[in-house]
Symmetry: C2
Subunit: 736 residues, 2 copies
Amino acid sequence: MNYDLLFYSVPAASIIALVFAFIFFRQMKKEDEGTPRMREIAQYVREGAMAYLKQQYKVVVVVFVILAVFFAILAYVFHIQNPWVPFAFLTGGFFSGLAGFVGMKTATYASGRTANAARKSLNKGLKVAFRSGAVMGLTVVGLGLLDISLWCVLLNFFVDEATLAQKLVTITTTMLTFGMGASTQALFARVGGGIYTKAADVGADIVGKVESDLPEDDPRNPATIADNVGDNVGDVAGMGADLYESYCGSILSTMALGASAFYAVSPEMQFKAILAPMLIAAVGVVLSVLSIFTIRTKEGAGMSQLLKSMSFGTNLAAILSGVATFGILALVFGTETNMWWQLSCSVISGLVAGVVIGKATEYYTSHSYKPTQKLAESSQTGPATVIISGVGLGMLSTAIPVIAIVFAIVLSYLFAIGFDVENMMTAANLAQGLYGVAIAAVGMLSTLGITLATDAYGPIADNAGGNAQMSELEPEVRERTDVLDALGNTTAATGKGFAIGSAALTALALLASYIEEIKIAIGRTAGALINGVDAASASILDVMAEYNVSLMNPTVLAGVFIGAMMAFLFCGLTMNAVGRAAGKMVVEVRRQFHEIKGILTGEGTPDYKRCVEISTKAAQKEMLVPSLIAIIVPIITGMVLGVAGVLGLLIGGLGAGFVLAVFMANSGGAWDNAKKYVEEGHFGGKNSECHHATVVGDTVGDPFKDTSGPSLNILIKLMSMVSIVMAGLSVAIEIL
Amino acid sequence: MNYDLLFYSVPAASIIALVFAFIFFRQMKKEDEGTPRMREIAQYVREGAMAYLKQQYKVVVVVFVILAVFFAILAYVFHIQNPWVPFAFLTGGFFSGLAGFVGMKTATYASGRTANAARKSLNKGLKVAFRSGAVMGLTVVGLGLLDISLWCVLLNFFVDEATLAQKLVTITTTMLTFGMGASTQALFARVGGGIYTKAADVGADIVGKVESDLPEDDPRNPATIADNVGDNVGDVAGMGADLYESYCGSILSTMALGASAFYAVSPEMQFKAILAPMLIAAVGVVLSVLSIFTIRTKEGAGMSQLLKSMSFGTNLAAILSGVATFGILALVFGTETNMWWQLSCSVISGLVAGVVIGKATEYYTSHSYKPTQKLAESSQTGPATVIISGVGLGMLSTAIPVIAIVFAIVLSYLFAIGFDVENMMTAANLAQGLYGVAIAAVGMLSTLGITLATDAYGPIADNAGGNAQMSELEPEVRERTDVLDALGNTTAATGKGFAIGSAALTALALLASYIEEIKIAIGRTAGALINGVDAASASILDVMAEYNVSLMNPTVLAGVFIGAMMAFLFCGLTMNAVGRAAGKMVVEVRRQFHEIKGILTGEGTPDYKRCVEISTKAAQKEMLVPSLIAIIVPIITGMVLGVAGVLGLLIGGLGAGFVLAVFMANSGGAWDNAKKYVEEGHFGGKNSECHHATVVGDTVGDPFKDTSGPSLNILIKLMSMVSIVMAGLSVAIEIL
């Protein structure tokens, strides 16, 4: 078989993705931006968003430079680290940031144009918004695959090891540090953007909606521009960097596990195992592009037809990708052994779990179903019961996703080892089973090109609504953009299910990669033994035995506690950051209402800039501590509690973090939709007591679902990535 | 050495505790109950509380009978369980319930008398309330030690094994099932009582305080009697059953670990290790009684002197107990080896962690410190920021307790093995180290007699305030009971620190006991081998190897996810239960305000009974599902995922559950005190907008801190207890 040809189909797919992204971008740019007022508003938002992103990148660059220098010292002075790490780390960060940047640039151009298209019809609005979302989706996967291919070529050229088998292990584990760069960038983007957007949103809601009965995005509200800027920097740029990290993380961890799982078998088998995830992703890109073109409806189509069309597109891509996986793996692994269909079944397990999580999310957070309707009903007894019921709902909603993930983990593992339950924990089966878990995550994200499009188009429609409102367009325009926004929320649920589920599986794969990396770090000492075995041939089980990694080891248990705590501590820091920043925003908006004459009648002009400044400063200042803690705690844990402690930390963080993330996302989503349900006229409708109670819920839910919750998925993986990159230090310095 | 004499000092200490409890009870009963109106109110509350408890016991008895029959079938029909289990289970449940019952009986007699005493002076009020709290404290420890001693004697007489060493293992593991009975009862009491009290409290607050501006405990509020009944069934009876479970659980798990850790050494050493925790507890009882007598102040003493006096008493008991531990362990283990001081240092590690957790709790939840003051300040921007900041505060507050517990685990383990870090995971050191962790928990709870008194006296003072308000006594009486209540909150922090910390350590010890129990279950098959070793001589590590209990086993990882989810699911169910029940209460109170003429002017009489009925029915109905889930999930996990899955479940539940419990307790506590801070006149004082915002926070915090949070500590241990008791079934039926 011509493996070169297979490999080069990966950069080819990435080019296809980037070309279509560029085409869609050009198409969008050609649309009319509307009235002068609309252009002006769009310009405000665009400038604010770009100004903020520049500020954020300034801070992030400093952090990246410091870390890169630190890695360089470890590598070149102390020789306890791979020499490629500083460069891989920097490129990962750069491309992750670039994915977010392109997505945001597109979104800020698209929202005004979407509003203008929505003046003509719902369908025109959909087309502009969705194609712009596709720009982001395709950019993320295109850049991801491009970077991965480039590093493969580069390292293949430069890395030199005694054996080919060892070389493949070194290449793939080196590339994981590229993932750490992406994760670090993503965490800053999610946390910074999340604080920015929610400070503005919460502040605008409290004074605007609750105290002054202004509608959403009313131009009289001084925080409204900041709110719209926030949607772009948080929901678009943050999400782009986040999913770039998830996408690359899943592929990279699978490649690394593939190289090590088949180390003892043959370099050819290793090569196949490395190639498989890349090919699944490459085919997914092509399927995504094709499916994007299926999303088109006739003029005059209603909401339900739009929904059908979008669901059809994403489902088509997912189903085709599942089917294609069988073909790809048969091609790569051949059909002589059972490997091709076993691993394909692992991928299917992951896909099914993703669908189940998505459906469960929809059930618990959409106001078409009972839970959110009951939540809305609880507003009849005031804001306190709305909060209590919302917290209860979110906590309950964790059950189905966890059960789905548990099935996915166990089944993808067992499929990969051909249900050899008796010997499920032999060294060979363990490595192969974990490879199955990892590749399931790749399957879930393979159609990210289209699922991210359905996710990213939501904030674009939301911003289009803001533009319509602020430009005082006809009310039906706002109504149409609201329909688009609501549609986006529904279709995005599946994408989110895949994102959350794949994060859990990838994090598991990274646990195994961490152990592999420890092995490599020990192996740097010539002639080193692990559990009495030569370092290079040692298995995961040998490393665990060497370091007493046992469930009853007190350092493991200590690590589990610290890991669980990290998830809460991180959320606490980000929640408090939003609380503080929103408080400042409220004070400022109140001041403006009080001091600027005629502001509420529309005669005075609010000082939008001050509000933008408050959000910018708060986000800048507050994003540092939580992000740095995520990097520092795993390093300290490694140095004090050793390898066993780090594994405990990662497992505790993964378990508690996953559940906490689902809880926060779903509570927040349900509060949001309960409010919308009341606004649709239930329990008294807009401006009733019940509405005010649900607005309190929605406001509390904002940082739950858009700041703390989504950051947790990155936190879980970043802690693993940091541990992997710092494995050398942890082996060199270990107190317990 | 005369070990018999040492052993009989344990029942002797229990008799001392019970005698003093009886004396204090008699003293309290002799106090005057006050005006006819006061007697009437007290009678209402007493009757309501007793009526509810009877109802609850009816449900619990059914559950206990079903479970006991199930255990009997497993033991006598399938022979896969210890034949003593059904009886031990029933007695554990009975005594746990009895401890709660006695405490509640005392509290309902004491609160009216405390109010009456407070009419004379603050000191008189303190004396009655505190001595009544001491009745509960001493009853819990007295009954606990009595039951443990009785079962020791009984099993020593009846159990027959091939060797003495084996006999001691069988006796101590059998006694653990007594702990499962206590835990089951405690969970029902905490959940049922917690739902009852918070449904009434939340309902009363929402309509009374927020909507009608009535003060707390106003007789015009129809939910006020239910609220006061709730304080007794939730905070007193629930807490009594809870701490009985903790107290016995810590001692029993240490005894079981002692018997197995020194199985290979000698029966004498086993005997010493079994005796040690009982003796530490027995001496703690005597020290508690002595310290209770030091709590007395001169007439006319102020708040700060009262606080000093109470802190002096509890600190004295803790310090003396720490010192005494060195003496007791020197006496038991002799001073030829280092064991005596090593284990004593383990105990000290636990005590220090308990103090640190207590101080951290105080810092984060008392309005004398910045966090709660800042929380109160956030009320200036409305209820939404109060909730956001409170959630943030609670999440942040988990860091210090987790770090304290991590230190306690690692240090108590390392002390116990003499810091033999190189060999920390040999089979012998593992068993001895875990014994050190377990005995640290015993040390933390040894002075429960007095710390529980400072905890239980709070609700008595609270109820006394209710009585004063409803009987329309002079305002200074209410002020005095409020001082007593506030005092109780502060002194209770340390006790709560010990309770939470010891729960974590005990749960860890139970993990080891679970593995031991699996060993015994396998050993029931004659000639069975574990990891190639004869079952009886197999170590914890052998059992783990046999069952592939490895951190990278997918069933372990699946278990960790399920465990973390259990903590959230359980809280979600209880939160929703409170939300639903409170909603019903609000509707009823609103109805009465609307339909009963003159109710708000005091001319009409509210229908208190209807509100009591609503709380009773809701608690009855809603407590079943969460409690049964806690029992059923570990059983199913054991049958499907096997031993490895169960260990994952228990560790995931422990890590996430501990952190979640601290978060919920501290958020709730801080919201409560932020409201009090505003009521003291900050940010506008009572009935200001800020006050209303903090009342929303306080209402949300009610189920956080009094229903879901405290139940988690029991859940963690109950899941372990269930797994231990069902080990036989899990060995017999195992799918993976």
